[in-house]
């Protein structure tokens, strides 16, 4: 068992709440028509995205999926700059050029959220090759969805990572659907982690809604990869509460299924844990929730007040 300090638990709960509020707010803005383009929400997947990142060490790197807000918040990105990016502002992480789907903070190791399903697998191998080559001792955590494991890139990358013993952990958020396609229709394996067998690497399936399971498993996997033993594949079973994106009418699933999963809400589960173990007082719990909410309200203010990029920036940054 990995020791969890009170300080760490506090950070965990705070970030999970930040992720939830961030997306609820973003959704609200989106519904009001204030967000240009598409937004992919990870409501219900916070334990997976946030906790996997909290298990990282300083200097480790991440490649995020298109459903990457919780992942980014877990990695420590500034919610002000994230929200500004979602609204296309000059102060955003990508100066308004990327939007919700491409939030990146390369200098600090967030290699970017990816709009191409499966786009991060190869990139993560490359980033891991750099770590190995330069003996940095750092590991790459690569996020993707269940659907992404049907791409050729997934299989080519796992094989490569395995034969070269690259320090990379592939973390699959299995939210039961690739857009409208349920997992049982788009692959013939019981667990996505079974796919690791083909590449002779460890594969683990965990409860992606259980913050401890995610944190502990990723911590161990990172240790394994850091020790030079090679890659690990983790499948975190979870569920997205919202549609794939705003235009999704969700005809492919019934409300009952959503309700069942809502009972397993990762935030509620963590709150129960904190209560049961009497780690914090009710007041402390509430304070963390309130602070998280305030941070997001401030982020929205910041984003709204921020200027749009100047038109002449359109030609900037095509080349280094």
């Amino acid at each position: 068992m990995i020791e969890l300090s009170e300080e760490l638990l506090l950070r965990m709960y705070y970030k999970m709440n930040q992720a939830r509020y961030f997306e609820e707010k973003l959704d609200e803005l989106d519904v009001k028509g204030l967000v240009h383009g598409t937004v992919h929400l990870a409501l219900g997947q916070e334990a997976a995205g946030v906790m996997a990142c909290l298990a990282l060490e300083e200097g480790d790197l991440v490649s995020l999926s298109h459903r990457g807000h919780a992942q980014a918040i877990g990695f420590g990105l500034d919610v002000n700059l994230m929200m500004a990016e979602c609204l296309g502002k000059d102060t955003g992480y990508c100066k308004g050029k990327g939007g919700s789907m491409h939030i990146a903070d390369v200098e600090n190791g967030n290699l970017g959220a990816n709009g191409v399903v499966g786009g991060g697998f190869g990139l993560s191998c490359g980033a891991a090759l750099t770590q190995k080559y330069q003996h940095t001792g750092k590991v790459v955590l690569c996020f993707a969805g269940d659907g992404a494991t049907n791409t050729g890139s997934f299989h080519e990358s796992l094989n490569l990572a395995s034969i070269w013993k690259l320090p990379v952990v592939f973390f699959i958020e299995n939210n039961q659907y690739g857009m409208s396609n349920p997992v049982e229709n788009h692959m013939n394996v019981e667990n996505i982690s079974d796919r690791s067998e083909a590449y002779n690497m460890p594969g683990l399936t965990i409860d992606g809604n259980d913050f401890l399971d995610v944190y502990n498993t990723v911590t161990k996997a990172l240790r394994y990869a850091r020790a030079g033993k090679g890659p690990v594949l983790i499948e975190a079973k979870t569920y997205r509460f919202s549609g794939h994106s705003k235009s999704d009418k969700q005809l492919y699933r019934d409300e009952q299924e959503v309700k069942e999963w809502q009972k397993k809400d990762p935030l509620l589960k963590m709150k129960e844990y904190l209560r049961e173990n009497r780690i914090f007082t009710e007041k402390q719990i509430q304070k963390m929730e309130t602070e998280a909410m305030i941070s997001i309200e401030q982020a929205v203010e910041f984003a709204k007040k921020s200027p749009s990029p100047q038109l002449d920036t359109i030609l900037a940054d095509v080349y280094a």
Binding site: V35, H36, G37, T38, G88, K89, C94, G96, K97, G98, G99, M101, H102, N114, G115, V116, V117, G118, G119, G147, A148, N150, T151, G152, S153, G178, M179, S180, N181, N185, H186, M187, D248, L251, Y252, S308, P309, L311, T313, I314, L315, V318
Partner: protein, 333 residues
Amino acid sequence: MRTNDMTKMTYRDAIRLGITEEMRLDRDVIFLGEDIGVYGGAFGVSKGLLEEFGEERILDTPISEAAIVGTAVGAATTGLRPVCEIMFMDFITLGLDALVNQGAKMRYMFGGQSQVPMVLRLPAGSGTGAAAQHSQSLEAWLCHVPGLKVVTPSTPAQAKGLIKAAIRDNNPVCFIEHKMLYDAVGLVPLDEEYTLEIGKTIVERPGKDVTIVAYGTTLAKAVEAADFLEEEGIRVEILNPLTLYPMDMKPIIESVIKTGCLIVAHEAAKTGGVGGEIVARVVESEAFDYLTAPIVRLGGLDVPIPFNQELESAAVPQRNDFVHSVYRLLNRE
């Protein structure tokens, strides 16, 4: 059913109608792609097809573009006529090996032995705020591969006529759809035998002063500009190359001979775009001697499509770019 009836419908519905008719007429036509079943396709084009044709013919695929295109090539060479939806044109990159190295070359390489009757539907273009990886117009790439045909409709009627022709064609046809046109409404022939011949450029709007060649969303902007200019007595002739490859140049050359002025336009990045090829062919032709002003090429800036809305629209030609270009050509500015 043969009929002269027309009805108003959207570009999206017209594509669906074309596919539906062909699927009813020919059991060899199958349709595969991501989320084309219950979801009805990312842009709603395949809505209702699963109910009518069932899972045997409406094949919801995993997220596996390489396998989708590869499967289509294989099915096409062995007797089926697959239609594929690539959710966004950007992801054709993942299926290019099967398309470019296999499908496009097989017939020629095997001395005329096989044929590859397949259609790739490719939703293209910017304007939706989907940023750099979901907004590209990559038609020029495809127009560089002998063996492929590349078509692109700009109105609902053209959408129906061309999708049907594409399905009936015995070659791999890339059918480029413009996302910003899905809701565009127009009269569409209900005749089941209505098709538009592949390999034809049409005069979209007759005029005499300046020739504009444009397609897709950019064509709609050219039409708006032409409406505006007409009020000032300037008559623009607009040509629509419905087939981008191989392109029918004759009407374009004839038009330039008439007007002496040419603007080519598309939202794809200007450098290496289809417009450059059109210009080169005009310059090679007898129309060269009739040119009275330098040719104008309007194209997307040579940048990936940015997310921010103002930047996004500044990245591609707009109505006013046409207006100013026409003024300049006619020395009115």
